[in-house]
């Protein structure tokens, strides 16, 4: 996608002009052009391979985030909230198992060999976020179903089995489920970060917080949406959920701002082209700013609470999907950009063989390469 990496090419072009003028005095044979300019590429062929993940995984990130968020919101409302939030607790406990059901299906369908999905369950690897995520999803699903079953039993559903389930310790389940829920909401960002894709890897410590905040804010929105569709008014719960959504949306905005600052030129896929527009107007505009505007300005304008809540929640949910969609596609663009990979793989400041300390270095090295094992050979 040549049009998507205008920033890098522009910089490269400028540096090249400077050097050709300065290069006249250089001794013949020193390839100063190569050393000073942001590194060249090989016919534009990406030096790393992009992930194959597409829509299935984006929907998994979205639904898994909602499942984890609704569970966490319900559990915290049950453990710490006042008793009038019972509807929030009930909705969250019912939604979480419903939302987690499609998750393993999406993940298995995305495999190259879906019939071998169970090989995910033959090892635990603490440094592989995908292995951790597999086990996290298994644990979370179990707790989400137990909590949902317990609530259903208390509500007089499920017959005899329901009466047994109702005797389960709800608070213990909630306490166990919250860490699993938070993990499931955030590990997906860590998973993207633990790759060689420049945009993701540079932000390995920010994508987890971003996806987790997005999961919590969109879950608050989803529960408000359900509340708005139910008969009766739950003003206390609605304002509590609005506060929770605001906190999470602010966290999301902070994470996105930090990603832009931290990425430097690597954030080009998020700022240019169709994806950049989708990021600005969809993920940020529709997902973060939109719901805040509708919920606050809608009140001044006298929009009735029910449509206000439905509109704001719908915007928040669309935005939450777009955050994942944009980040996934931006990673693919970033992986396809050789300049981004080379820039990322030079940033650590370690001088390379020619003595250049990275793409930002302005001084070409005159001192040569020292073979590292001279001492060893002597």
């Amino acid at each position: 996608m040549p049009s998507e990496r205008g920033t890098d090419e522009h910089e490269a072009g400028e540096a090249g002009t400077d050097e050709r003028e300065a290069g006249e005095a250089e001794p013949r044979g020193r390839r100063r052009r190569r050393e000073q300019r942001p590194p060249t590429d090989y016919y534009g062929i990406p030096p790393i391979h992009r992930a194959h993940w597409g829509g299935l995984i984006e929907w998994y990130f979205f639904l898994g985030g909602l499942a984890s968020g609704t569970y966490v919101v319900a559990a915290i409302a049950a453990l710490f909230g006042r008793p009038e939030h019972i509807m929030v607790v009930r909705i969250g406990r019912y939604l979480a198992p419903l939302l987690v059901v499609p998750c393993p299906v999406l993940l298995i369908l995305d495999l190259g060999r879906p019939e071998r999905f169970y090989n995910m369950l033959r090892v635990v690897k603490l440094r592989s976020p995908m292995s951790l995520g597999t086990w996290g999803l298994v644990g979370f699903s179990l707790l989400a179903f137990l909590s949902g079953g317990q609530q259903a039993g208390r509500d007089g559903l499920l017959g005899g089995a329901g009466r047994t389930l109702a005797r389960l310790p709800a608070r213990v389940l909630a306490g166990l489920g919250v860490p699993f829920g938070f993990f499931l909401g955030g590990y997906t960002g860590v998973l993207l970060g633990a790759t060689a894709v420049p945009l993701w890897a540079r932000n390995a410590r920010l994508l987890g917080p971003l996806f987790l905040s997005s999961a919590v804010s969109s879950s608050c929105a989803l529960i408000q949406l359900v509340l708005a569709c139910l008969p009766g008014r739950h003003e206390e719960s609605e304002s509590a959920l609005e506060r929770g959504e605001l906190v999470a949306a602010l966290g999301e905005a902070a994470a996105l701002a930090a990603i832009h600052v931290h990425s430097g030129a690597l954030d080009a896929p998020l700022t240019t082209g169709r994806l950049g527009r989708l990021h600005a107007f969809g993920a940020i505009g529709c997902g973060i700013v939109g719901p805040l505007l509708v919920r606050s300005a809608g009140r001044w304008l006298g929009l009735p609470p029910r449509p206000r809540s439905i509109l704001a929640s719908a915007l928040a949910l669309v935005g939450a999907f777009l955050v994942k969609h944009v980040m996934m596609r931006a990673g693919a663009q970033s992986a396809d950009d050789p300049a981004a990979t080379f820039r990322f793989a030079r940033r650590d400041g370690v001088p390379d063989a020619a003595g250049v300390s990275g793409a930002t270095s302005g001084t070409p090295a005159q001192s040569g390469y020292q073979p590292p094992t001279d001492a060893a050979r002597a």
Partner: protein, 274 residues
């Protein structure tokens, strides 16, 4: 042997390749031998117009790839002065680097990717379920998901041949010994000797790729497949200072934990307040 490089790299008994780009003539015998021995299908008959490189990239069915770089002098060349060494036409036979600490292996959630008794990195084809996580986790872009069988494939360093005391097919076929197979310790010493020799000949850009200075950096701990280059690694489409991606797993989880704590507190206050 008090050099740090020798302490952190290659496990004892590790085997690997030394690919000396100054000896490569671009015959692609390695590509052909690899495909023949491993029974890999052809990739098509397209011409890329990128010099003589019609292979393009390493992939699921291409485990050796010869890169052709045509450098153009920016300064005028003196026709009466002999170049100290070689032309501006660079060739490199690229291959899986068989990292000492491999990103693909650490990413693999099924345990399909293993270290063998030769310290090489092999994907067990009866385990791999094609999740594709190793593909973006490799800092060198080596493994690839095959559309044909839904599994990930890459160079095995001819595990079957090495087990039988045979050198890998590509090294066997290489007519100029640009590809050398052997114990990594010895290959490393040979690579350093060769770089010194080249620098003596006036090749100032000669360098080893795959030690802890270049290529095997950032937690990777060195590569079992070394290269002798005469220019910046990027010229050959190799990253200069790649990092082991999984070193970010724990920091990423900790920052997510921090975010979870803040969000949890925010939710608690939200549901307590009026």
């Amino acid at each position: 042997m008090n050099d740090l490089a020798d302490q952190v790299e290659a496990n004892p008994g590790a085997v690997g390749f030394l690919t000396d780009t100054t000896l490569c003539i671009g015959c692609k015998a390695c590509e052909v031998a690899c495909k023949q021995w491993n029974g890999l299908p052809m990739d098509g008959l397209e011409l890329t117009a990128n010099s003589y490189d019609n292979t393009g990239d390493l992939g699921a069915t291409t485990w050796r790839h010869v890169a052709f770089v045509e450098k153009i002098d920016t300064q005028p060349v003196d026709p009466f002065r002999m170049l100290p060494f070689q032309s501006n036409w660079l060739m490199l036979s690229d291959v899986c680097k068989h990292c000492v600490r491999a990103g693909c292996l650490e990413a693999c959630p099924t345990g399909a990717i293993i270290k063998t008794e030769f310290d090489t990195v092999v994907i067990q084809q009866d385990i791999c379920n094609g999740c594709g996580y190793c593909v973006p986790a490799c800092p060198f872009g080596v493994p690839e998901l095959s559309q044909a069988d839904g599994k990930v494939h890459k160079c095995t360093l001819c595990y079957d041949r090495v087990k039988d005391d045979l050198e890998p097919a590509c090294a066997k076929a290489c007519p100029t010994d640009s590809i050398q197979f052997g114990l990594v310790d010895r290959l490393k010493a040979r690579a350093n000797d060769r770089v010194e020799e080249l620098r003596g000949l006036g090749v100032e850009g000669a360098r080893v790729y795959g030690d802890d200075m270049l290529g095997g950096t950032g937690g990777i701990g060195g590569l079992n497949c070394l290269f002798v280059l005469t220019d910046e690694p990027e010229v050959y489409n190799l990253p200069a200072h790649p990092k082991l991606p999984q070193d970010e797993t724990l920091p990423g989880l900790l920052s997510t934990l921090g975010a979870a704590a803040l969000l949890g507190l925010g939710l608690i206050f939200s549901f307590r307040g009026r």
